[in-house]
C-alpha cells in the first residue's frame, strides 16, 4: 500500500503527484524530488555498464527511517516514484513490481486518450481511481 505516488515527465516536472495523509504533503513532495537524483544516477549507470539487460524497474531507491522509495522508468523516460510505509514489511518486491505495471498500463491509457495533450498534468478520473486503489486507507 503506497503512501505517495508521483508521475514525473521526461523533463523532470511532475505530471501527477498524490499522497494520502494530506497534511504534510510537502514532505512527500520533497522526498520525491530528492529521489529524482537517485533515478538519474541509476539511469546513467545502466547506460555505461555493459549489461545486456536493461530493466525498467529500478528497485529500492533509498530507505529512510519511516519510508522506502521505489522507482520505475519507462522507455519514454517518464518516471514513476512510489513512497511506501516502512512499517508495512509484508510488501514484497513482486507486489511493488505489479503496482508499477498497473501504473504503467494506466499511464499508457492516459497517453492514448485523444483529449489529453502530452505534457499536461494528468486529470483523468480513471487514473485517479486506480491510484486510490493502490494507496493506504487512512481513517
Amino acid at each position: 500500500m503506497a503512501v505517495c505516488v508521483a508521475v514525473i515527465a521526461k523533463e523532470n516536472y511532475p505530471l501527477y503527484i498524490r499522497s494520502v495523509p494530506t497534511e504534510n504533503e510537502l514532505k512527500f513532495h520533497y522526498m520525491v524530488h530528492t529521489s529524482l537524483d537517485v533515478v538519474d544516477e541509476k539511469i546513467s549507470a545502466m547506460g555505461k555498464a555493459l549489461v545486456d539487460q536493461r530493466e525498467l524497474y529500478l528497485g529500492l531507491l533509498y530507505p529512510t527511517e519511516d519510508y522506502k522509495v521505489y522507482g520505475y522508468v519507462t522507455n519514454s523516460k517518464v518516471k514513476f516514484v512510489m513512497v511506501v510505509d516502512s512499517s508495512n514489511t509484508a510488501l514484497r518486491d513482486n507486489e511493488i513490481r505489479s503496482m508499477f505495471r498497473k501504473l504503467h498500463n494506466s499511464y499508457t491509457d492516459v497517453m492514448c486518450n485523444p483529449f489529453y495533450n502530452p505534457g499536461d498534468r494528468i486529470q483523468s478520473r480513471a487514473f485517479d481511481s486506480m491510484v486510490t486503489s493502490m494507496m493506504i486507507q487512512v481513517c
Binding site: K10, E55, V73, M111
Partner: protein, 161 residues
C-alpha cells in the same frame, strides 16, 4: 486482419476530406501545405501514443539504432502487419527506411501512374514516425519520397541541438 482494412479506409477518407475542404480555403500550394501539415500533425499525436504503448514490455533501448530498429520491426508490424524492407544509415544522424510495397500505396497501382498524388498519402505516416521518435526522446525531421509506386522511402534526420 479487419483492423488493417479499417485503418486503410479511414486514412483514405481523411486525405480525401482534407483535400475537398482545402480547395475552399486557398486554391494553390498554400492550402495544400495546410492539409499536409494537418495530416502530419494527426500522425504525430498517434505516434506519441504508440510510442508509449508499443515498447511496454520491452527492455529499455540502449542507443539510437535500437530505436530505429524498433520502428522498422515493431511499429511497422503493429500498424501495417509487415516489416520495413531496409534500413540504411550514414552513422551521422540520417536514416533511410525503405519499403518496397507500402500498404497505403499498394491499392493505388504500380509504376509511375499517380506519382503526384502519392505524397498526400505519406504525410500521416511521416507524422507517425516523428511522433513515435519524439516519445522515445529523439527529435527528428521525417520526409518521404516515392520513385515508383508502391515503393517509398522515409528519410529520418535526427536533430541534435
Amino acid at each position: 486482419m479487419v483492423d488493417a482494412v479499417l485503418f486503410e479506409f479511414l486514412h483514405t477518407e481523411m486525405v480525401a476530406e482534407l483535400w475537398a475542404h482545402d480547395s475552399d480555403l486557398d486554391p494553390g500550394p498554400g492550402g495544400q501545405k495546410t492539409s499536409l501539415l494537418v495530416l502530419e500533425g494527426m500522425g504525430f499525436r498517434v505516434g506519441q501514443a504508440l510510442g508509449e504503448r508499443l515498447p511496454r514490455e520491452m527492455l529499455a533501448f540502449r542507443e539510437e539504432l535500437d530505436v530505429l530498429k524498433f520502428l522498422c520491426k515493431d511499429l511497422w508490424g503493429a500498424v501495417f502487419q509487415k516489416q520495413m524492407d531496409s534500413l540504411r544509415t550514414n552513422h551521422q544522424g540520417t536514416y533511410v527506411l525503405q519499403d518496397s510495397s507500402f500498404p497505403l500505396l499498394v491499392r493505388m497501382g504500380s509504376g509511375l501512374q499517380y506519382l503526384e498524388e502519392a505524397p498526400k498519402f505519406l504525410a500521416f505516416t511521416c507524422g507517425l514516425l516523428r511522433g513515435t521518435l519524439s516519445t522515445l526522446g529523439i527529435k527528428s525531421l521525417v520526409t518521404a519520397s516515392v520513385a515508383a509506386l508502391p515503393a517509398c522511402k522515409f528519410q529520418v534526420v535526427i536533430q541534435r541541438s
